[in-house]
Amino acid sequence: MPAEIYLNVAISGLLTGLVYGLMALGLSVIFGVVRVVNFAHGEMMTIAMYLAVALFASFKLDPLLMLLPIAGVLFLLGYAMQNWLITPFINRPEHAQFMLLIAVAIIMVNGLLIVFGPDAQNVQTSYSFDSFAIGPLIIDATKVYAGLAAIVVAAALFAFFKFSLTGKAIRACADNYTGALVVGLDVRRLYALTFGLGAACVGAAGAILVLIIDVTPPLGPAFTLLAFIIVIVGGLGSMPGALLGGVLIGVTEALAGLLFTPSAKSMFAFAILVLVLLFRPEGIMGKRAS
């Protein structure tokens, strides 16, 4: 097999992995601060994907241009969910939080089925079938745009947490909950803001991902699982870890499909998960429990 095929496939996996990483970043942010595992994460992403499909079908608006408005809608959804639905469960046992978010996920899947039906839907932009030829390499143009958009969104999120006062306050809540209360931070509002940001992140990922794959309502649970694999591999609560995990899973799946059999490529993602759990349970970039 020609060497450029390996490079082609690895680049394709890398670009898709960046979008996966952005999606998982939302999950990591929420868990890292609020300590709630969002079991409706993939379902929230399918909502964003359907918003992109609806906007494109009605007004021919490119999902990349609609990325910010869609992220905004998901932010509001996340903020409202945390503020009114999840907050009463914050101090309840984890299984109660788990059941709540599973219920929310099921409602979302069935709601999407009622509204949009079961057919796969997609967005066909003017560049949907374009590719860049660089020497012997042929790179999917859509994946290049999607990968770049994922990098920009992730960088903006990193900058927000690093440089803004609100971002620093959220990090303070994550580091020391009691300390944050003592210094007078409005933890409830900051938690809602964090959940909103995580949801906005997954909203942006959905708007980008709809350029690469078709959306159906049952896609949600599959992506929730994928997000979990990525954040566990990268390190639960670690933002750079989520991106790294996404890229690692994307490239591994792509190369495994090429070198072994494509129908077993998901198996390799799970194999990485098992190895990480065995030898580095905190994830590649996660912090060891003291």
Partner: protein, 412 residues
């Protein structure tokens, strides 16, 4: 404030409880009996209306939608349709079949997919309820010695045998044949049965090509870029494929993006001729050849079905999904008419003696052998042309000449 004591409520005795239960049971049973007498045979139709095969399941449903009017015109008794969604899931298919039977279904029809149909066949046989398969090609379904399972659809070896004959006809007519192909197939029950069948049957047909590589993929795959890269890298002259609908669209998109235009696409399954494929891909949908169970456009009932579909669903091309779903219901109505009863055993005996020559599918008609298989079905070669489907093989049943090799994607 004191609560009202419970002792004030009427006392329930064993006698009143028994009377109430009897009344409830009789109320529940009476309408069911009346319905069964008045509304014809209760037929449970199981289709993948959601999940990965939703598009095809809904296409089959269009066949269900237009059946009642045609059966009436042909003098068959009416059917009471009970719909169920298998959710493209074998276990759900099994559970839904059990539920339909417990809800009073007297005959089952479905389920497009071999895996799901296998599960339903086991339930039908266990419960003694006739099951008429509309579409499912895995051979073992009718090799189990079942007494209540019937299939009016070609098995994988039948599809492959006719496909090889029809492909050679197309190659000879155009004077161009590929020397190598790469074979991509979905790794579900149907795809695996076809893959096994190719290994056994291809040598007998002296095909002009050899298979350079076989690539299988998951039926729920969301991205087939790796698979197509691998297929392209083999350098094969043509793509041979057994797929479903969503994956057919994904493969085509990737072929265009990866700038791979083989001599042609030779499909031996669904996907490439579906309306959703044609509408989604527009001019990029033109060219693939599908070698599949099809219909004889010259038959009277075919014209009735075409007209009914055109009226109910304008712009939808008549295809395998509607044809064989309609015929499965036709078998049910015919058996009910001859049996004169909804008794499952009488229905199964009547189905076994089916002899419908006034039908839709290619071939002499609908009859079942001792295993419950219609072994007289014939397949055709069809090609997508400007959003329409034309029949290019076998000789005598064509309405167009195949465009082979197909036009490259970058020249459209």
């Amino acid at each position: 404030m004191d609560r009202k004591p419970f002792t004030n409520s009427p006392r329930v005795t064993r006698r009143t409880f028994a009377a109430g239960t009897a009344a409830t049971v009789s109320l529940m049973a009476s309408p069911a009996i009346l319905r069964a007498q008045g509304a014809g045979l209760k037929v449970g139709v199981l289709l993948p209306r959601s999940g990965a095969q939703a598009g095809i399941g809904q296409d089959c449903q269009r066949g269900v939608d237009v059946t009642a009017g045609i059966l009436k015109q042909l003098g068959y008794p009416s059917l009471q349709i009970m719909n169920a969604d298998t959710e493209t899931n074998v276990e759900v298919a099994r559970a839904r079949a059990e539920k339909l039977i417990s809800d009073g279904a007297q005959l089952l029809v479905g389920a497009f997919d071999s895996g799901q149909s296998t599960a339903i066949a086991q339930v039908a046989e266990q419960k003694g309820i006739p099951f008429v398969i509309n579409i499912a090609a895995a051979p073992p379904i009718t090799e189990q010695g079942y007494k209540f399972v019937f299939r009016n659809f070609a098995t994988a070896p039948m599809i492959l045998s006719d496909a090889f004959v029809n492909q050679k006809e197309v190659f000879e007519a155009s004077g161009v044949a590929p020397k190598t192909v790469v074979f991509m197939h979905v790794n579900d029950t149907f795809g695996t049965a076809m893959q096994k069948g190719i290994g056994g049957l291809m040598p007998k047909f002296n095909m002009p090509y050899t298979i350079k590589e076989t690539i299988s993929y998951d039926p729920t795959a969301r991205d087939l870029s790796v698979e197509v890269s691998k297929a392209k890298a083999t350098g094969a002259e043509a793509l041979m494929v057994v797929s479903r609908l969503n994956d057919a669209i994904l493969i085509t998109r990737e072929m265009v993006k990866q700038r791979w235009s083989p001599m042609g696409v030779l499909s031996m399954g669904p996907g490439w001729y579906e309306d959703q494929y044609l509408k989604t891909l527009g001019k990029l949908a033109d060219g693939p050849l599908s070698f599949v169970p099809w219909y004889d456009p010259n038959k009277k009932v075919s014209k009735l079905l075409e007209a009914a579909l055109a009226k109910a669903h304008p712009g939808i091309n008549l295809n395998t999904n509607q044809i064989y779903t309609f015929e499965a219901l036709m078998v049910a109505a015919d058996a009910y008419k001859r049996a004169g009863s909804a008794d499952p055993k009488a229905l199964a005996d009547a189905i076994r003696k089916t002899n419908i020559t006034d039908n839709v599918s290619t071939g002499p008609g609908i009859q079942f052998d001792a295993k419950g298989q219609n072994d007289k079905l014939k397949n055709a070669g069809i090609q997508n042309r400007a959003g329409k489907l034309v029949t290019v093989a076998p000789k005598g049943a064509t309405n167009a000449k195949a465009e082979w090799p197909m036009k490259p994607y970058d020249k459209r």
